[in-house]
Amino acid sequence: MKTLRITGTLAIAGLTLAALPASPAMAEDEGTTAVTFALAGGSLTVDVDPAATLAAPDKEDGEPGTWLSGVGSVSGSLGEVLISDERGATGTWVVTAASSTFDDGNDAEDTNSTNVFYYPEDVKKTGRVDLAPTSVAAPGPSIMTGAPVVTGTNVVGNNTARFTPTLTVELPPHALADTYTGTVTTSVS
């Protein structure tokens, strides 16, 4: 009988413990969601260069200046992108890239970029994650409408990914010789 009583007490204590949140952060109010508990995981972070400059084709490669007379594309590196997933969980993440129109600042809008393509290269990882880079290349839709470029799947615990995107900006054949500016947004969630 004594044994039974002790077991019963332990069982009730266990139930009480199980019902208690680890760290109650918010009380339940009418019309709001229930009690929450504090999460111990770290952050998801992204690091990119604030600015980059594209290079014209090498004048020594036999096609000097052809980009001005019809080839119409300029390529270069955006610098390294670093994704750090310190959430210590199994949540997947997706990096998307989106580009504004590259504009030379003139009123003639038909000289603006026609496409912006994105090639994630030199992809490296640490931790348990499977990385799937996706090149956003011609003739498909360009990143001017936004597109996934690297996905991290089968995540287990903390992981990082590094890659160096190459950007290709296509200009119309009649593009003016000028300074073109644009914004590339790298998002991860």
Binding site: A22, A25, T32, T33, A34, V35, T36, F37, A38, L39, G41, S43, L44, T45, V46, D47, V48, D49, P50, A51, A52, T53, L54, A55, A56, L68, S77, L78, G79, E80, L82, S84, A89, T90, G91, T92, W93, V94, T96, A98, K125, T126, D130, G146, P148, T153, N154, T160, T164, A177, D178, T179, Y180, T181, T183, V184, T185, T186, S187, S189
Partner: protein
Amino acid sequence: MHRLLTLMALVAGTLLPAAGAFGIPANAAPNDPSGIGIRLVDAPVELRDNPRALVYVIDHVSPGTTIERRIEVSNNTGAPTDIAVYPGAAVIKDGSFVGLEADTPNELTTWTSVSAPRLTLAEAQKEVVDVTIAVPSDAAPGEQYAVLWAQTAAGEAEGITQVSRVGIRVYLSVGEGGEPAADFDLESLTAQRTDAGLPTVTAVVRNTGGRALDLRGTLTLSDGPGGLSAGPFPVRLGTTLGLGQTAPIAVELDEQLPNGPWAAELSVTSGLLTKTEQASITFPVSGAGETVPLSDDGVPGWWWLGGGLVVLAAFGLGVRFVRTRRLHSHR
């Protein structure tokens, strides 16, 4: 000519290398800049066993409910940084959860507000931001998606200005009553070889439930030639599957793998839900092999039929035993 020279000078200018382009090891030291960060500070107790709820805002609420969460935004860029915090619409497309451009709105984002839309954080500083989602009482039922973004403010730069943003996904289901159940089916399995001759297993997963899924999985091969086993191999699949959507699954294997036959076990998980299906497959010499249909629930129909017959037989025997005992006891 002057303009041409300007262009040549600017466009053919030296590339600006990234901070990490000089051979920084893959395992970054803690003090290396990791950019801007975001994390979910708390989650509902009733979802504490759901691994997805630990990294995303996931909830099911009735119209008229207000949800409160806290997020923490951090700056580790190496310099003081202005950060914008805002909700943006998201869609599930081609197996990916994609946050739309800038602060593109949808219904969910119009219900969402943050306590600090603009932050200026010193290096290594963190700030907690309250997020409130007030679902109106006339909200239509269904699941909606958004991202709570932290974004570096765009500076003025010649050439390319790079903006970075990092976010927490929101999967909000609205409707009266309990949460719609998450469910999915693994529909078929095909062993094939790619043009390069690599053995590949493909399958199809269909979201048959009421919530979006974040999928992960493995393929294990056993009972192969000579009793060989192989795997588990990670499954390559889209990360997120919307309601009613299907997505291909692919697993590329080693060229040295014997053709089989193999007992293939495909296991796919989303949150607390795991489906495991088994099939016998043989890799063809080239092209696609036979597509093997998979059962809906992982338990073949003949098993239920056989099990039912066994139960009926046991019941019949039990009744007969009791009757016999009663007859004996009356004598």
